[in-house]
Amino acid sequence: MKDYNRLRKTLHPGSDRVATQLTALLTACPLSFLYIYDSDCARIASGILRGVCEELAGESTRFRYAFANAVACFTPRLFYDTVLNALSHHTPDWEDGCENWAGTSVEGQRWNESIDTFLHGLRAIAAEAQVGESNGKGKARASVNGAGVGARCKFVLAVERPERLKENMSELIVPLTRLAELSQVDIVTVFVSDVRWEDIRPPSGASPEPLYIDVPVLSKQDVLDTLASYFPPDESSLVNSNIDPDTYNPVFRPLYVHFVATVYSICGPFTHDPHELAYIAAARWPGFIQPILDEHRQRLREYEEYLASRNEDGDADAEDMGPPELVAPTEDARLRLIRLFTPSLTAALEALYPRLTNAADWARTHTPPPNLLTIHPSQVPVAFRAAAAGHADGTDVRGVDGLPRMARFVLVAAFLASTNPPKSDVRMFGRGPEDRKRRRRKGGGPRKGRAGTATKIPQRLLGPISFGLDRLLAILGVLLEENDAETRPSAPQYSVPGEYTDVEISRVAIFAQVMELSSMRLLMRTSPPEKIDSVPTFKCGISYDTALKLAKDVGIPLNSLVWEGIQYGNT
């Protein structure tokens, strides 16, 4: 709960208008269906809504709300259970066998059967809440119709990621949008999404039009405020981490504000998402502050030496000067730090935005060299490089070069089969029967495209085409015959040229290799695996670069075997 409080407080500066609007709508307005659209980050929008709801629930006991995530509630039953338990303030207990809220009704009543029982459940909750409100405990009497005395209870049902309702439970959308009129309970349905209502709306106008609330795009200042709010408020959050305990010392808060401004100015053109920016900032900050902490520690050491020397001198009691305190760096040092770390921010964006690595690991491997501020500016890049080299972990990465030789041949053959059109095979790989061994195809030369014809997009930009297993094996046979014949152990029993290869490609190990590669998803099986009486088809799952690398490893001239490489000369 604390998180949300913090979130609300910090998000309100930027989302003030939305928050007040929501408060007004949820308390006063009779509307029963709202649609909050936030193109940037629906997570933040639902955070705002949660904050508003919490605040309202804190003010009045007659206000209850439930949040349902359409991804998490992937069956109607889950959805009903989640909503009813939340509205009735019921927490299922393991000791009771995780029973749902049962209401005051008799045994065996279940509310999660269908939309009908769900509506009854809503009414029961409303009645109970009302009775509890007006009569207090003990005298509660169930009144399922909900037409009791006193003010009615206000419910809010927020649905996050409602776009998923469409595929999972499309039958629920209409009832949910008309929940108030169906259940006769004062309930507001709020959809929070980064998809527009037009894309979810059920056909033929079965749902009423919602009231649209568009969350405005966060301004730069709002983003900066949001980022600054992630500065850990106290040191309790640092207990378990292995970074310096002083990293998030409150004295650095002003510096942090400057720091996030720099992060924003560099990464802003690529992403506005405050979460992403905060992620990058969190990864860079420990390294950013490291030089200052180093400097401080140096001063501490000097102070201790000073104390020691003074003790030796004999005037130990003269305690006129305390240990140096951690202070925010000067303007000068700040500018210098920012200048030093700006290049690494771009690197951080490149590595962290696609999550090639995670923030904690990135922070560890990009620790700046010690005592950075004492290094001469001209030496700084060298020092950075040395530090990075020192942190590069020597764990051996099992790349594609760990694959056995046949697997590489199969993958290259698959790449060719997926890139070349099938009708080009005879031209590309066909060899006359008389000189089956080692006849190089004469270069076809780039075909002259007639002016005015539309340029065909190369297949390798369009994605792989699928191919049958026998086509793959045939291409593999040609590749093996031309590039692998010398490395095989000798087998005098094969006398006909090409016979050895023919035997090799019909061996079990090759088929096993194909299946193993397809289980690694380096080959994608496109035919259903349970169908065994037809030729299995595959697609290549490796990129051009990987194929090129593999081909180079085993000595295949890939570029001269790619059909379009010849046609366009664009190898």
């Binding site: 992937f74 393991w94 995780c98 051996d396 790349g399 380096l522």
Partner: protein, 703 residues
Amino acid sequence: MQDQTQPCVYLSPDDEEHDDGLPPEPLHPSQWRDLPSGYVQRMKVYKTLWARCLSRMQTLVHAIHAPVACEVALEIKSAYEDQLPGLPYHEIPVIALAAEPGSPIYADVVSQLESPSTVQGQERRDLLIHLHPSECPNLLSMMRAVVTGFTAQSGTERRTRSAVSLANYDFARLQAWYRTLDSHPNLVVFVHDFEQFDVGVVQDALYICSLHVPRVPLVFVLGLTSPSTPTHLHKAYARSTLALLRIRAFTAPSGQSVTEEVLARTYFDPTFEPDIMIGPATLDFLHDFASRHTSSLDALYTVLQLAHMKHFTEPLTVLADASSDAHPSLTDESARPFVSALALRLQRSTDSAPDDLLDAVQSARAAFHRKARELRVALAAAEAARRIGQMAGAHSVEEEDALQFARAVLRGRVEKEVRYLGMVVRKLPAEQLGMLLAELLALFEQVGAGGDGSEEGTPHAQLQNLFAQLPRSEEGEDGNPDADGPPQEDGAPGVRELSDALGGWLVDFLEQRFVRLDEGPLWDMWYMGNTPFPAELINPAPRLAVVSALTHPSDFARAHCELLEPAPSPSASPSPADPLDLDGDEEDEGEEALWELPDASILFRRYVEAGRMVNVYDWFQSFAVVLEGQRRRLRKREREAEGEDEEESEEEGASAEEESEEWVEEVQARFMRALHTLDWMGFVRHTGRKADHIIRTVYDVLD
């Protein structure tokens, strides 16, 4: 096509049902000199010895994996302790563990996790479940597997009235269960074969879990088999999903380097003594297979196991195990051929007492193992010299690894290499010379081989003498307690002499020790020698084998009948299994006429000549024509044999009418049987549209 007959060598015709644990007893040309129950007893010995070898290899693999497994376990345990502050939301810790399929590293990690860890003063044991792709075809079953997998572990499964409680795939249920736990363990989810999971399902499941961390501290361990750069995660999953995870990648050591290390330390380690020594042919095959097809440990185990099994087809190997005291009784009359064969090998008279023979076997075993041990020590010494020589900047004659060198040693082709090593040692500078000497001494200490150093003339003693002459530099080698000779101060010239001496010693030593193992009495009991590895069993070409069996059935029949023939005489009699009574002399000429072939082969020959689709009626017609010719020829041959031609033909003409009816039926029946045989073997595909046609499944048939 000769070797195409190989795959069927060990397949006896009726080996479908053998559920008594033991494989069917293969017949072997050398069976005549086998003991009556030789096969069973050899299998017993094989099992003991192979188990010993396998457990050695598994121990080695375990040791190789231990560091990574330890690291992963530590990472799992501390997944929620080591968090970077300042992150906008909590991430799910995910460990991407790249290992070969079925790698034992998972078991290692799990056993590491079994031990409780102490976190913040209280003891905690993380709970774990395993997910497999087959359990998780959709989101509902995946969530159910996660929720019930954990809740079932606490042992306090509550009574549930399913309808009015939370669904068993509801994450809230897991949450409610977790609240009751006192120790707050991490919940570890092992996802095996991660590539096989449906991306959409896993994406949603991770999203749901991310809504609940860190209140329910889940840790995912994803078992990947694909190469780790770039990982399958980054290739297949959307950025929005990746943003929910904190991915740490680990790679279990695997591939050729691991298999070769295991191999080297099983067979060429001076501290371990394998019962059956591997031969260079098997080593060659293993090397080729690992680099070409798969370098998985499973493949290594299977190949070696097969090599052991092949080794134990030799009747004499029943005496291979020294420790087994259950030696077969050799006094029986039925053991006579075995005893005489053994005596012949030992160059004794065939009527020597069995106990004498057994004693001779014992001493032969001791001699062989001593020789093999000395060879291994020498190999280790050569390896040390090579390594230190490389440190000093010398290049070996050829760029090869230790295993290749070992293969050359087993083949006895290393004179050049040995002389080169001696030269390298002669040129070593003082520092490396000291290192080499210390290492060699340590080696001898370790194995305790070559005498205990007290006798003059053993390599160990010679080495100690040399070491005593080593001029001590100020850093002071902490050498051998035995070697306490006074340091000499004569500097460089002393070193030169010493290195000359050491080089000479090394060459002598290696030449003396690098002997061929396939000499000496009964060597083939403990050494695989140069017998080729039965590669066809590991990597057969089934379709080609079937096709060539159908086109040349008599070759196969002959090979099979030779195999089944227990008689020592290799002259094969015509196979009784042949459906047709074939003449021996015609057979030897290779190609038989079409009519001589069995029905299925005739049909197959016609099939090969057809187009993409085969009209079944035409097929039948041509089949009938061949059978007609066959009948005519057989009749003719019969008549020639019986010598009565005139009268019979008249009688025949009389019964021709009714016989032709019978004949047509017989042809039809034989056609159907042959067709079904081909269908059963998968050569025939039926079309939905043309009822009277079938589609071929095999096209390019080589002759």
